[in-house]
């Protein structure tokens, strides 16, 4: 802290200056009150910041716990369901068949269409796909139009279809061509083979034994 020498006289005078002649002096009482308030306020603010930090931490912990619980409830879908193009194709086919509306007309409740023409009510048989496999036994609910007894209008009601018993046939008896195959469990060299023949569709998980799955040590 040293530089060229200046005459200390005027610097000392300037340093000792406490107020300017024409100006009002500092209101010490008001200034002290403000300072005291600031000191107290900062203390409170500091405490308040701690409370906020604690509240944020608590919320974060609760959020994490909830997220963990939610994740526990949701199981991931099985691998065979996810990567199986053949099964997907079959399901698409099944849904095409089952989504066809089935009109069942009861003779007891005549519809306005019956009387003028005098024609017999049209019975549309439900198309049943000849699916001979375990996949075909699980059927989603079929939507059927059932006439309401009190009204002339048909009311759409969801009726759960009873699982239809299918004839169990050996895969070799299905005949036809292989329409698809996909690895179901690549780690076990297993794949699903799909067949389409006159008897319907069939699928089976087959182990691929042509490839060596284990490495035997060399002698």
């Amino acid at each position: 802290m040293s530089n060229e020498k200046h005459s200390n006289s005027w610097i000392g005078k300037l340093d000792e200056l406490e107020s300017l002649p024409g100006e009002a002096p500092l209101d010490k009482v008001a200034a002290w009150d403000r300072l005291h308030q600031r000191m107290d306020g900062k203390k409170i603010k500091k405490r308040g910041a701690w409370y906020w930090a604690a509240a944020c931490l608590f919320l974060a912990v609760i959020g994490l716990l909830l997220l963990k619980l939610e994740r526990k409830g949701n199981f991931p879908p099985p691998a065979s369901y996810v990567a199986n193009p053949y099964k997907k194709k079959m399901q698409e086919k099944e849904s095409d068949i089952k989504e066809t509306p089935v009109i069942v007309k009861s003779p007891a409740v005549p519809t306005p269409m019956d009387s003028p023409t005098g024609k017999k009510p049209l019975h549309v048989k439900e198309k049943t796909p000849a699916i001979i496999s375990d996949v075909a036994t699980i059927l989603p609910p079929i939507i059927k139009a059932i006439p309401h007894p009190d009204t002339m209008l048909a009311e759409t009601t969801t009726v759960a279809a009873a699982p239809k018993k299918m004839r169990v046939v050996h895969i070799n008896d299905v005949g036809g061509d292989v329409i698809g195959n996909a690895y179901v469990y690549p780690e076990h060299k297993q794949f699903k083979i799909g067949l389409s023949g006159p008897a319907g569709f069939a699928s089976q998980i087959v182990a691929d034994k042509t490839q060596k799955t284990t490495l035997s040590p060399k002698n």
């Binding site: 005459s7 200056l17 002649p21």
Partner: protein, 184 residues
């Protein structure tokens, strides 16, 4: 109560002792702040900020005499002012070539009253004023000033030179007889 006793009590958290220290130092410190910051209200705010920091750092203080205490508080105030000026980006960066060294008319200044010198100093632009205050009044060198203000030494020298020449011009403009005699 002596100043060491006041410091001791203030360290313990005595509001009365703190208040007494504030009353004792606030006038001079306000003038220090006003030398750097022209505006009265800004200077008062900086004074309060400075005292807040002073009371906060009291536990670290070891009393070594009145002069040391005074310069310590003054240093806190100056730092507050410099921080304020830096926030307001009051430092104007000028060309770095050093202007010709201007010697202050020390005799002229010695003949002026403290208030007159103060009024002359606060009329200088913020950049010039800050360097002038730090170099001439606080006795810092250009390296220290450059470090404090975040400017180069050349800029500090240039600012000081310009501040001095402006101050000379102001002295002449004030039609001070002594200057007239000197210039004739």
């Amino acid at each position: 109560m002596t100043i060491p006793e006041l410091i001791k009590e203030a360290k313990k958290g005595s509001t009365a002792a703190q208040r007494y220290l504030f009353d004792l130092l606030s006038d001079k410190m306000l003038m220090v702040c006003r030398r750097y910051v022209r505006n009265q209200q800004d200077a008062e705010e900086l004074l309060l900020d400075g005292f807040y920091k002073f009371f906060k750092s009291l536990p670290d203080l070891s009393y070594q005499g009145d002069a040391a205490l005074h310069s310590w508080v003054k240093r806190i105030m100056i730092n507050e002012c410099l921080m304020f000026l830096r926030k307001k980006s009051a430092f104007v960066v000028v060309s770095e070539h050093v202007a010709e060294t201007v010697a202050l008319e020390e005799d002229v200044l010695n003949n002026l009253s403290a208030a007159e010198i103060f009024n002359l100093v606060i009329q200088l632009p913020a950049g010039y004023r800050t360097v002038f205050n730090l170099y001439v009044i606080e006795g810092m060198n250009h390296g220290e000033i450059a470090g404090l203000l975040g400017i180069s030494e050349g800029t500090s020298k240039s600012q000081l030179s310009k501040a001095k020449s402006l101050l000379q011009k102001m002295l002449v403009q004030q039609n001070i007889e002594y200057v007239k005699r000197k210039t004739q």
